[in-house]
Subunit: 364 residues, 2 copies
């Protein structure tokens, strides 16, 4: 065991953070710990809790017989735009961070070398290392969460682009002048198929449904605001039965503002017609975006990760169908689309491998 | 001169074919010849004319002092889906070819090793070698012609994907349920911004203009078919003056079916308002597609090539603006968008470099 090298890893999410310890050649954590992210308390509090969590992991590892001097450093994944060369998080909206020199802060606190990368790059690399991306030559990891991120892994290395920001697959236009996106544009994939967008479209569909019933099923659906895309295409909206949405509605007890994508996928699983229509549309949006990536990159694997991917086959099967129908046949055939093995644990694993790649192997 | 190696190259287009001879380390042709492509006469005739053209080039090179035994092979670019490993053109709609073993046919006829690749990959590589892509680390070549193709060049090598079809940037969805595309889908970038699409949108705009005038400028534009996207957004269409389109119209003497993208860009250059609006919309479509690529790939260069790129600054400047406005700021800043140095000569040059890469250097 003496000759082994161990790597600490931390995945900082907008809600939770997860820390782990990995042997540099094994994609499974020896120790794994999770805690909430104190976003509202600011950068200092998040760093402090991250360090505390990593220290707990170190102690537990020591107890398990890992010599402290064999822990060689830490990899950290952050949901935002990261400059991996300088170790700076230039922008992380979900953490309200701007230009935070996160690498140096963790390095000082831990007394170890640290590498920082975008969380979706980490998640993609984590699934490549020991998940649904294993063995792939060119993989796209699509992280479907609050937003949509991505990572492109070629022969086991993240394709970073020239300033480290490659893989932002959530910000391809799929609908010109479409829904407003967090990035300031309209019509991005993220504005249609992220968890946030799914919840938003569900709320709009419930609202439409209510208006339609109040007006006795008027097929012209008066009252629908003109400046908002319909959450459902007309032919779907008008064929929904009266109790469509009722399971979804009851899940949040009528407090639609509390609806999340998880409610929508659970309601769809329970047979709610409106929720099923929302998920079917989500698959169509994702299918359009992923088919474009299949045509542009010709990957052999696409791995869906993040909270939305927990919807499972309900999402996976129709996404596969849409991609097969839309992408070039030879490229679509060559590409396996799969769910992440650990939709929420790939990030911390990939953060460890990122450290190995960048520091132990010296690759960029 | 004895130690030099020379490479034949052929760019087979849907209209013309160009042959050249290149020194393996110089991106400028020693000899260059062009001839029309006899598409209607079938594969045999196209191959025969290609071989004849390459033989002429060989003879002229001999006359110029190139020893015949220093000509080591040929690179060939074809507009279609190519399997470079097997040298087969699986599908080339503009040539009406399906599963043509083009490498073997040229190898037999020339008595030299031959390498085949997609023409847009060749054009991208050609601009990287000795054009507007020179020195770039990650470049996207966007070939805007009859269709829209592309090539991704990373550190001087084409990124092919797992079955050789990467770079098909024309088939990203930019408008769900939008215009019909040659690939069988709707809403692809190609369906909006290829030369074919520009001409088509111009014809539709002239038609709308005619209807509008016939009806005394009815702002509701009755008579516009519902199942077709408007070629211009409402706010543009309704502000066009009465003589908008007249320059364009006169260029083809009222025979709108003969309109090409070249007419549209010439008319726009001459001040025709309708043509300017069409080109402005084209830039917007391209901007949306390219901004997505900037976010996904984070390249340092995008080079516009193909016939549509001959529109020059009329297209380039607004495309740059749209990308800057839509892509992530750091990624947009890092990416120079440029016109090809030789919008129609990059392909033959890149075909020569493809041969060098694949055969002389043994890279895939």
């Amino acid at each position: 065991v003496k000759s082994r090298r161990w790597i600490l890893a931390l995945d900082v999410g907008g809600t939770n953070m997860t820390a782990g310890l990995f042997h540099d050649e094994v994609g499974e954590p020896l120790v794994l710990r999770s805690r909430s992210t104190p976003v509202a308390e600011g950068v200092g509090a998040v760093v402090a809790r991250g360090v505390a969590l990593l220290d707990e992991v170190r102690k537990e590892a020591e107890g398990a017989g890992v010599p402290p001097d064999r822990i060689v450093g830490a990899g950290i994944g952050v949901p935002g735009a990261v400059d991996p060369t300088r170790g700076i998080v230039s922008r992380a909206p979900n953490l309200a961070w701007n230009d935070v020199p996160i690498r140096d802060r963790f390095q000082e606190a831990l007394g170890l070398p640290v590498v920082v990368d975008n969380d979706a790059n980490c998640a993609a690399l984590g699934e490549w290392w020991a998940g649904a991306g294993r063995g792939s030559r060119l993989m796209v990891g699509a992280t479907l969460g609050t937003g949509i991120g991505g990572g492109i892994v070629r022969e086991g290395r993240v394709l970073r682009g020239v300033t480290g920001s490659a893989g932002e697959i959530g910000h391809m236009t799929i609908q010109l002048d479409g829904r407003s996106c967090s990035c300031g544009n309209r019509g991005c994939l993220e504005a249609y198929a992220s968890g946030t967008a799914i919840a938003q479209r569900a709320r709009e569909a419930l609202e439409e449904q209510r208006i339609r019933h109040r007006e006795g099923g008027d097929p012209n659906r008066a009252g629908r605001p003109d400046d908002v895309d319909s959450p459902l295409p007309d032919h779907v909206g008008s064929t929904l039965s009266e109790d469509a949405g009722s399971i979804l509605d009851s899940m949040v007890d009528g407090r639609w503002e509390e609806l999340t994508a998880a409610h929508v996928s659970r309601a769809a699983g329970a047979g709610d017609e409106l929720a099923r229509a929302i998920m079917a549309e989500t698959a169509r949006y994702l299918g359009a975006g992923l088919a474009g990536l299949v045509n542009v990159l010709n990957p052999d694997r696409i791995v869906l990760t993040g909270g939305v991917a927990l919807a499972g086959d309900l999402l996976l099967e129709p996404v596969r169908r849409h991609v097969r129908r839309q992408a070039f046949p030879s490229a679509a055939e060559a590409c396996v689309i799969a769910l992440a093995r650990s939709p929420e644990g790939a990030g911390v694993r990939g953060a460890a491998l990122t450290f190995r790649r960048e520091v132990l192997e010296g690759h960029r």
